[in-house]
Symmetry: C2
Subunit: 323 residues, 2 copies
């Protein structure tokens, strides 16, 4: 049983083409793959076309890989047709464990055992998803950050039955696609991306529930403050630059016992997401949305991300030359 | 007792000129103020000059306000001289509550009661800092994000004895300086910036302590993933774009009970920051630092932040014109 050369894959299948699955379709198309896309939804094809209409001009600006073309997409509502001949399968069905497990049973039958199947799941461990597969060793989590066609990061992590060689294969494959692969050796709920994201989001929910902050204040705090730094460097590098000449050690020594425990953070379960709280959040969110359609917000986000990626590269080069 | 016109302040004093206080000096100088800076440290003047050497070329590129000049800085180790004639005082002494309280007692005596005194404290409530002042009503927290001279956000929040009119004054003053003011009505430990930042950092510490992730993986997760989004939009706007056409409500409804509780996050106290763990963090951090000096990392960060701010403005304008 030999797998395809991960650096020379020509044809992939995308199972589920919502925001995330459709984003993978855009990524694979702009990277020059043949893409078969399957989604049983009534409006799925229309949704996918609109997603591509919005993403494609941006991806053209960034630069398509040789041979990349929207005409290399084949959308079908026949799953067998979708996976036929695929050298990699990216599954992005809705985030429902039982649905995923059933889809993996089906893919397990339809897809030859040497073909790797990656899941976009945002939190379920592959161990739980692969449990009813005959060939679980080729299943792996490949968890992106939305939008998958612009944000470089993809988290790759296996389940108990995943073959480590499949992890190697997947890392090579996604590097060839052009992603920045975060390979995790240990399986945890939520993986790293959502662990970190959710930790911050929970604290935001606590602050809103306690009526100490609004949605707009929290979003401002990220976009005009913390996010500007985290787009340049992570929390550790940030702290390394926050303590004068002495760097991270000095910061860990001086702040360690002060800032990182209650009352600085809420060490308690999530607040009740009552209907009242949800309504409050949605109402407050209008200030952030500011009358923009989702489509307009996506355009704005995409332009910023693209520019930011170029910019960051240029900053690193310039700083290297200076010194 | 009439305060200076917040939009027409000419002269400010900066008390403490480390990374944060020195950053404020740079901000005020580039915004065209006369700045008196005080720091009793032996190498303080040298540190401040180096900080300005590094910040100034970047600030020149962004564009100085009319009249802005480094020659308008007066550094002194005489605190009375520093505050004489100041129309606003920004305190940035080290993060030690007793030190802050003593400094406020001293400033309370030296600075006329109509002059507002802001604190850079990263977490102590102003209620605790102002407690021994005779004129506590003019003291307020003015908490920046490092580097204060580039990151727009400043969090303004009072203590129990702070006069609400002083909050108004401070907001107007810092808007005139050119900051994006986050005015918080309720006082909490850590304020909003550190609540959110620390929530994420704690989860990172948990993952490192449990040996599930490394410093470099966490920093990658921010710089190649989450941070790219949070530089464009906050967590709520992000989720609004993550659920197809149906937006935030659909996401809150479908994910609410799944993703935001354990086991997706660690609902437990901070891990013990043992010397072993601290060493592990510092060792792993070398991969992120990648041989760069702090100074080189600061150059790189600054260039990226500046470019990002310009870029984001342009993306919003372009997206508005398109539709």
């Amino acid at each position: 049983m030999s797998r395809p050369d991960p650096k020379n894959v020509k044809r992939v299948a995308c199972i589920g083409t919502g925001t995330i699955g459709g984003g993978f379709v855009a990524q694979f198309l702009c990277s020059g793959y043949d893409v078969a896309a399957y989604d049983p939804g009534k409006d799925a094809r229309d949704f996918l076309e609109r997603l591509l209409d919005q993403a494609w001009p941006v991806l053209e600006k960034v630069g398509l890989k040789p041979g990349a073309s929207r005409s290399r997409l084949h959308f079908t509502q026949d799953i067998e047709e979708a996976v036929a001949g695929a050298e990699f399968v990216q599954e992005s069905v809705p985030e429902d464990l039982e649905l995923k497990v059933r889809m993996y049973e089906k893919l397990d039958e339809l897809v030859p055992p040497q073909i790797v199947i990656g899941s976009s799941t945002a939190g379920f461990p592959m161990t739980d998803i692969q449990k009813r597969c005959k060939f679980p060793e080729r299943t792996v989590v490949t968890h992106p950050v939305n939008p998958p066609y612009l944000i470089p990061l993809i988290e790759v992590v296996g389940g108990e039955k995943t073959d480590p060689a499949v992890l190697d294969w997947t890392v090579e494959f996604y590097e060839a696609v052009g992603k920045r692969v975060l390979r995790m050796e240990k399986e945890i709920y939520g993986f790293m991306i959502n662990r970190l994201q959710v930790a911050l989001f929970r604290e935001a929910l606590h602050m809103i529930a306690a009526d100490r902050a609004t949605v707009a204040q929290i979003d401002d705090c990220l976009t005009h403050g913390l996010g500007l730094r985290w787009a340049c460097m992570g929390p550790f590098a940030t702290f390394h630059l926050g303590a004068g000449d002495s760097g991270l050690r000095s910061l860990l020594d001086s702040y360690g016992t002060v800032d990182w425990c209650a009352p600085y953070v809420t060490e308690s379960p999530l607040p009740d997401l009552t209907p009242e709280l949800l309504d409050r959040i949605l109402q407050q969110a209008q200030e952030v949305i500011d009358g923009r359609t989702i489509s307009k917000m996506v355009d704005e986000r995409n332009a910023t991300i693209i520019g930011l990626l170029k910019l960051r590269e240029a900053s690193r080069v310039a700083a290297s030359q200076k010194q």
